[in-house]
């Protein structure tokens, strides 16, 4: 019991000290500390956002006769209308939604399950398993995708070979399956990372609570469900929002799978669609509109998820 009382508070946001002494020297120091980051942040984050939003209202148009230099014309919301009316945009968006609704819960579910198991009294060799699960995160996403592409490719894949010897026709690259083959790559790469975040949060819960619950006769399963999981809500929020953002900008997996699967076209996901619009079709206004829409979708989903996850606690 004493440990709880002595435990240092986690969030002492004491920001006093120099408050009232607001001298010019302090102000200069603050400026020196923040200016380099802030200036570059403005350059690398804010400029492209503003530029995108502005460009999304313009379009590059050639004169109807095809003479002369193409000129940039204000087109209002045309680029947005074009995106919303385009089948390709909705297909790409639909794919990442399908991907996100299945892959994210599966991945986070596995991560939570593994974290709870590693935190349970029954687990042994915790640090070994922890490293093994985290290992895929050390492999850059695009390289992980390349390795899995080989593991999927019909001529090389040991799984396909295994299927053949058992008389089963295994195909990872067909139009119906390839999205889930990509989901597997993402799950493989990020489950351990998410597991580690959850496990760190679990290990920060004071152990006394579990002992008290055990004395009251609660099973380990019930402790995991009723005591542990609700207390790592911030970790679940963080991993959930990270995963949503990751799914919105899904790129490495489809870009790599495109090389070996005919089922993946150049507009398979929104990021590829925007890239193609900008660099292949030189239609930057359209690319910008797609990016702005995606950023909005990401924002709405993150807020929604946050609200949902936090409301559950009450």
């Amino acid at each position: 019991m004493t440990t709880t009382a002595v435990r240092p508070r986690v969030a002492p946001q004491v920001v006093r000290g120099a408050t009232r002494r607001g001298t010019r020297r302090v102000r200069g120091a603050i400026l020196t500390l923040i200016a380099p980051f802030v200036l570059l942040f403005l350059f690398v984050y804010v400029t492209p956002i503003v530029y995108s939003v502005v460009q999304s209202f313009f379009s590059l148009q050639t004169s109807s006769l095809g003479f002369g230099e193409p000129s940039t014309v204000f087109v209002g919301l045309d680029n947005y209308t074009k995106a919303i009316e385009s089948g390709a945009f909705w297909s790409a968006l639909g794919r990442i939604f399908a991907f996100g609704f299945v892959q994210v819960p599966v991945m986070l579910g596995i991560a939570l399950g593994l974290a709870l198991l590693l935190d349970s009294a029954a687990a042994r060799w915790v640090s070994l398993y922890r490293i093994l699960y985290f290992l895929p995160y050390a492999i850059p996403g695009v390289i992980a995708a390349v390795l899995w592409a080989y593991l999927y490719s019909p001529t090389l894949s040991p799984f396909v070979a295994l299927g053949d010897s058992l008389g089963a026709d295994v195909d990872f690259l067909g139009p119906r399956v390839v999205l889930w083959s990509m989901a597997n790559i993402t799950t493989w790469a990020f489950t351990g990372y998410n597991m580690l975040i959850m496990l760190s949060a679990l290990q920060a819960i004071p152990r006394e609570q579990f002992e008290a619950a055990r004395i009251d006769g609660a099973s380990e399963w019930r402790i995991a469900r009723v005591i542990k999981t609700p207390q790592i809500r911030p970790a679940l929020v963080l991993t959930g929002i990270n995963s949503i953002i990751g799914t919105i900008q899904l790129f490495n997996e489809p870009q790599v799978m495109r090389v070996i699967s005919d089922a993946v076209n150049s507009e398979y996901v929104p990021t590829m669609l925007a890239m193609g619009a900008a660099f292949v079709k030189n239609d930057f206004g359209y690319a910008a509109a797609v990016s702005v829409l995606l950023a909005l979708v990401a924002g709405v989903l993150s807020v929604l998820y946050y609200t949902l996850a936090m409301r559950r606690s009450q």
Binding site: M1, T2, T3, R7, P8, V10, A11, Q13, V15, G17, A18, R25, I30, I34, P36, F37, L40, F41, Y45, P48, S52, Q55, L117, S120, A122, A123, R124, I131, L135, P136, I139, P140, V142, I143, V146, L147, A149, L151, T155, S157, P158, A161, I197, M198, S200, R207, A235, V237, I245, I248, F251, V259, T271, M275, A278, F284, S291, L294, A295, A298
Partner: protein
């Protein structure tokens, strides 16, 4: 009481990047049903197998010549041609692979150090001073953490193109240096490890604010700096979309983009080269991960508990 309740001074302190002291065999008194223990072990091992399958396949495949790759079982060793593969990777296109590795080390090293310094300085100011615009600044940084950064890359390309930065090292380095997550972590660590009393003491001794930061705060935060550096380094090393968009000169490629390039070009004739290159490019990171584990966990904990 004290005999049965071991004091764990660090177990609940999650904000400082200090290694959590190994918990004494917790729940030691608790009897675990052996069946539960075996079932737990079984599930954990099954998961480990899933995560290790591609790694095992990679370790096996890297030893095979291209012909052997197609003629043997992917999970079993065949004729060992590891040396030939490595030589092939290192000498191909006049040793381009070595150059890619060096580029990656440069981008991630220089970019990571600068990202850490800039981010932690800004985070420290946010944590320890009150100034006008602080709220807006912090809000902007959180938004920066949350925005899907791939969406910024295409417009950034156009901005960089106007400035003539495209297809230069700066096109990769400048965005790499700006890491909002480093500010976020820096703020948490500064709040946790730099007491106001120490700043006050420094002031009384006549030290300026920057000197207090540079000589006292940074030193106190040095374990945190390693954590932030590690996160920045790895995120730059792993980045693929940014260099893909920005660079066309192969001599400037980081190793991720280089391998992707080989992957798209070579097809079946040279799978062994891509596979061996992948392994070689991953080794430095895996070593960094395994040896710096505690710093990872501290960073992940800070992110998870404080959000």
């Amino acid at each position: 009481m004290t005999a049965t309740t071991p004091v764990r001074p660090d177990a609940t302190r999650v904000d400082a990047p200090r290694e959590r002291r190994r918990r004494p065999r917790r729940d030691g008194e608790l009897q675990v049903d052996p069946r539960t223990a075996w079932a737990t072990l079984g599930v954990l091992t099954l998961a480990a197998v899933y995560f290790l399958i591609p790694v095992w396949w990679l370790l096996v495949s890297v030893t095979k010549s291209n012909a052997t790759l197609f003629s043997t079982n992917g999970f079993a060793f065949g004729d060992i041609d590891l040396a030939a593969n490595v030589t092939d990777v290192l000498t191909r296109q006049d040793g381009l692979f070595g150059r890619w590795l060096l580029n990656s080390i440069m981008y991630a090293g220089v970019g990571g150090v600068l990202a850490t310094l800039l981010g932690v300085s800004c985070g420290y100011a946010l944590a320890k001073y009150q100034f006008r615009g602080r709220g807006i600044l912090f809000g902007g940084i959180i938004a920066g953490v949350l925005i899907p950064s791939a969406l910024l890359t295409v417009p950034l390309y156009l901005v960089f193109a106007k400035l003539g930065l495209v297809n230069t090292v700066w096109a990769v380095l400048i965005p790499a240096v700006v890491n909002p997550f480093a500010v976020y972590l820096g703020r948490i660590y500064a709040a946790a490890s730099m007491p106001d009393e120490l700043m006050e003491a420094g002031r009384l001794d006549g030290a300026g604010e920057l000197r207090i930061y540079w000589t006292i705060a940074l030193r106190l935060m040095s374990p945190a700096l390693v954590t932030v550096l590690l996160f920045s380094f790895v995120s730059i090393w792993n980045n693929f979309f940014l260099p893909l968009i920005m660079l066309s000169d192969q001599d400037l490629y980081p190793v991720t983009l280089g391998i992707y390039n080989w992957y798209t070009q070579t097809r079946e004739a040279n799978y062994n080269v891509v596979i061996t290159g992948s392994l070689l490019s991953v080794i430095p990171l895996v070593v960094a991960f395994l040896s710096l584990q505690r710093f990872w966990r501290s960073g992940l904990t800070a992110g998870a508990v404080k959000s």
